[in-house]
Symmetry: D2
C-alpha cells in the first residue's frame, strides 16, 4: 500500500478587511482556502500529529495576516500566506492558497462619509497561489460571468450520424457562463519580486474576454472560446496560459406555430439541462501547460 | 373532509424576449410562474379534468404572450397573463402570476452592432400580479441585494437575561441581504388602467432602499429596516405597503489578541449561520395589510 | 405611517444533541429558527433596544435548553423554547419556533460500541410551534421526499383552448417532491399537556402519505394530492388540517422515432424547469384553516 | 499560440430507464455527461464544424442507447457510450463519460403491483469511463455520504506556532461528508471483457468505507481517511487506487458555562464554514496514480 498525493488545510475562511482612509472606507471580501503538503506519512499511518500544523492554525493565520500584511490583492495575500507556511514549518513542503473575491461598489451618499457598499455579484474573481519553496505558480481567474449575444451566431456544417436530429441554423442566441483561469508567467526564478498590479491585470484580462465574446461573429462556441483565450494571450504579456470552461446556455426558439404566430428570433426558452460544455486551453508559444483539465470551484 | 385553498399552474417558465431596433437589440429575461384557482373540486375528488386548463397550456400561453403582447415590464406582462386566464376560462376564478426578472447590461463595442450583454446579477427583481376578475393586487420587489455599512452602527441597551452573553458595541459592521416586497395602491377600482411606468417605479423604490440603508446611523437593524421601509412609503405615493426581510449577515471582529495584534475594527469574519432575521411591514396610514408574513422565493 | 406585523430572532441554529446510554449513543440533529413578536415599536422607531431580547440570546437559549430539557422531539423542544420566551419576557407576546430535523441511522458494527451514524437524507422533517401566551399551534411536516410511480397514471379530458398542444396520455410516469405540513388539533385549551408521541405521529403521517401516493391510480396529480391529504386526516385523529405542495417532476418520454426505435414507456427525460405545481389544503370537517397558502422553507 | 487540451460534449443528460418485469418495475436514474476529444483544431481556429459530432447528437445517443443497450449499471452504460463515440467517428480520439446515479427504493404496497418508488438520497453514486481507442480507465465513486462518530476521536500532539490557539481534546465528535473515487485495475489490455458485477463492486467498496470509518479509533482525520482507503484496497482486488476528499464537518462543543451548565459532550454546534479539508490518494503497491488531485462534481 502506498500513500499517494495528499494535502490538508482549512477551506473557505471568510475574511473581510476594512481600511479606513479618514471618513472613506475601503473593503476587501475574500474566501480563503489553504492546502498544505509535506512530510505527512505519520499522521496518515499512525495518527501522530507531530508534523501537523492544524487546520485551525491555518485559519488563524489567515485572519492575523489580514491585519499584519493587509490585503493589497487576492494574489498578493496568497503569496504572503504560501511563503509563510512553507518557510516557517519544516514539515510543510508545499502550500496552495485558493481565494474567491467578492466585489463591492460604493452606495453614493452626500457628504464626506463613504462607508456604505453594495455587492456587485456580477462574477466571482478567483486566485490560486502555489509555492513549493522554490518556484511559484499564480493562476488568476473568474467564474459565473454570464454573457449573451442575441445574434451573429451560426451553427451548421457538422457531422450527421444516425443519431443526429439538430437542424442547422444561421442565426441563434449564443450565451454562456464564463469560467476562466489564466496562469501568469512569473515563477520567481528570474525576478524574485512578483509583477506589479494584480488588480489591473485582472481588469485587463476580464475586459479582453468580454470584448472577444462580443466582437466575434461565431460559427461555433469553440471558435468563440478560442478568440476569447487567444485575445488574452495576445494582449497580456504576463499571461502564458488560459483555460476556459464554457457551458452553452441554450436559448431555444419557442415554437409558436401551433398558435398561428411567427417567431422571428424574438421569443426564446432558456433551458437548464442538459447543456453543451466546451473546454479548452490556449498557450503562448513555448509555454508548458500547468492548469489542470478539471477546474474545481474550490 | 373539506377541500380548502388550492391552486395549480406551471412554475418557472424561463422566457427571454429579444426586441430588434435595427442593429440595437434589447432583451427581457424572466422566470414566470402561474397559479390558477377556481372550480377545482372535481379534479381533486374524482380526477376529472373537465375544468382544468393544463399547466402545459399555461406554459404555452406565457411564450405566446411574449410574442403577442411583448414584455413592457414584468408587472405589465403579468397583468396580461392574469387577465387572460380569468376572463377566458369560466372555471378559473383567480390567477396569480409571479415573476423574477434578471437584469442585463450592454457590453460596449465599437460600431452600430449592439447585441451583446452581460448579466448584472446584483439583485433579482420580483413581481406578483393577482386578479380575481374584479380587483388587482400588484406587489413588486427585489431580493438578494447585499449591502454593508462598515461603521455608524451601534448595538447596546438591550435586555439581559440568564442566557445573555453578547457584549455591547459602539461600532460594528452592519450588513444584510435585502428581500423587499411593496404593494401598489392601484387595484383597478378607481382607475381601470394601471399606472404608467413600472420600471421607473422599481428604480425609485430601489434607490430609496439603498439611500436609507446608507444614510441611517443605526442603533439596531430594526431601526434601519423601518427607515428603509418608511422612506419608500414617504417618497413613492403609489405604494401603500412594504415588507422587508433582513437577515443580519454577521461580521464578527476576529480575535487577534492571542497573536499580540490589535484589531481596530479592521479584520472581520463573515459568518453564515446562524443569523439574525429581522422582518416587518410598514403601511401608509389607512392602508390594510395585504402582503403575507412569509414571503417565499417563488 | 404604521408599523405592521414584525418579528425577529436567530435563524438556523444548528444544534446536535448526543445522549450516551452506556456504549450506545443517540443523536438529534436540528436547525432551530426563533421568531419573536411583541412590544417592538420603540426599537423600530427610535432604535431603543430596551424591550429587545437579542437574537444572540435566543441562540444561547437554544443550546442551553438542549442541555437543560434535552430534545425528546422537535415539537417538544419547540414547545419548551416558545413557552420560555413568552413567559419570561414581558415585551415578548408571541413566539414562533421553526425546526428542521435531519435523520441519522446507525452504521452497524460488531461489539457493544454503537456511536457511528450515517445521515439518511431521504427527507427533511419540519416542525413549527407557535405560542401567544394562550393558545398553541403545532404544525409538523416534511419536505424533499421524492416519489415516483412508473405507471397507473393517466392524463386526459382537460380543457383545450387556443394555446393547448399537450397530447392526452393513458400511461405516464408520475413523480413529485412532497412538501407537506399538517396542523395538530391540540391547542392547549382543553388539555394543557401536549399529546404523547410526536415521533410516532410523524412516522404515521409519513407512512400514510407514501401509501396513498403508491396506492392511487391517478387521473391527475390533484387527485393524488387529495388522496394523500385525506388519508392523513382519515387515519390520524390528532391532525385537523394538511397542506401539500407537489411539484410535478415531469418525466417526458424520449422521442426515439428518428432513430428507428420504439419507446414503449421505457426511456424518459427527467426535466427540471418549468414544472407543474399543485397545491391544496385538506381540512377535517369543522376545522378552520390555519396553515398559510405559502409554505416557506424556513 | 497553441491550442492545448480541449474537449466538448453534452453535460447532465437526465435519463430514467424503466424495465417492466410483469407487474414489477425496475428503474435506473442517471445524469450522464459526455466529453469528446480529437481532431478539433479546425473548429477552434476557423469555426468549421466538419469534424464535430454535435453535443445535441451526443445527447440523442444517450437516450437511444438507454433503449438499445439498457442500463445494466452506470459503468457498463458508460462503456457502451465511450466505445461508440471513439469507434464510430474518425475525428473522435477519446471519450470520457461521467455519470451520477440516484438510488430509489420500493414503496411496499400489498398485491402484485410494484411500480412505486421513493428516492433514497443518501449518497450519489458516480462513475467515470474513459476510452482512447486502446485502453480503458474506469473510476467509480460516491459523494455526499455524511457520517459521524460521536466518540472515539482524539486530537492532540500537533505543532504549536505563534498562531495556534486550538486546545487539545481527548474526546470529540468526528463527522465528514465522504467524497471518494476508486480506479479499477481493468484496462482492457489483458482481458477484453470488463469484469462482472459493477453494482456488487460498488456495494462492497461503500460497505468497507463505512466499516472503516465506524471501526477506527481516530487520532486524526488523516488516520481515519487512510484506514478507509486502505481497507478498500485490501478487500477489493479489482481496485488499484482510491482518492478521498473528506471535509471535517466541525461539531464544536457549545460553551454552556456562562449559564452555570456543564456540557459533558452532549450539546454541539454544527458549523458550516470554514472547515478542515483532508484529501489523499492510496495506491496498491506498484500502481501508478491515475485519479487527479482535484475531483470535480461533474
Amino acid at each position: 500500500m502506498i500513500l499517494g498525493q495528499n494535502q490538508y488545510g482549512k477551506a473557505e475562511n471568510r475574511v473581510v478587511r476594512v481600511v479606513r482612509d479618514g471618513a472613506t472606507h475601503h473593503i476587501k471580501d475574500l474566501s480563503v482556502s489553504v492546502s498544505l503538503s509535506g512530510d505527512m506519512e505519520d499522521v496518515h499511518l499512525s495518527g501522530s500529529n507531530a508534523n501537523v500544523l492544524t487546520t485551525d492554525t491555518t485559519k488563524n493565520t489567515v485572519f492575523a495576516f489580514a491585519k499584519e500584511h493587509g490585503i493589497a490583492s487576492a494574489e498578493q495575500f496568497g503569496i504572503h500566506l504560501a511563503r509563510h507556511f512553507v518557510t516557517s514549518q519544516e514539515s510543510i513542503r508545499s502550500a496552495r492558497i485558493r481565494i474567491e473575491e467578492y466585489a463591492w461598489e460604493r452606495i453614493g451618499v452626500p457628504g464626506p462619509q463613504q462607508h456604505s457598499f453594495v455587492r456587485t455579484n456580477q462574477e466571482t474573481r478567483t486566485a490560486q497561489i502555489t509555492f513549493d519553496g522554490g518556484a511559484w505558480q499564480i493562476v488568476s481567474g473568474l467564474k459565473d460571468l454570464v454573457v449573451l449575444n442575441s445574434t451573429d451566431s451560426e451553427f451548421h456544417g457538422y457531422v450527421k450520424d444516425r443519431y443526429t436530429t439538430l437542424p442547422e441554423t444561421r442565426d441563434r442566441v449564443l450565451a454562456t457562463q464564463v469560467h476562466a483561469r489564466w496562469r501568469h508567467a512569473w515563477t520567481g526564478d528570474a525576478a524574485p519580486e512578483p509583477p506589479g498590479d494584480w488588480d489591473r491585470s485582472y481588469r485587463q484580462a476580464r475586459e479582453h474576454l468580454l470584448a472577444a465574446f462580443a466582437g466575434t461573429y461565431s460559427l461555433s462556441l469553440q471558435q468563440t472560446l478560442y478568440q476569447m483565450g487567444s485575445r488574452v494571450i495576445d494582449h497580456c504579456p504576463g499571461i502564458d496560459e488560459i483555460r476556459l470552461s464554457l457551458p452553452n446556455k441554450h436559448h431555444f426558439l419557442a415554437d409558436l406555430t401551433p398558435f398561428g404566430l411567427k417567431n422571428d428570433n424574438e421569443v426564446y426558452y432558456a433551458a437548464d439541462r442538459p447543456y453543451g460544455l466546451i473546454e479548452a486551453t490556449i498557450l503562448r508559444d513555448g509555454a508548458e501547460p500547468g492548469i489542470p483539465v478539471d477546474m474545481t470551484n474550490l
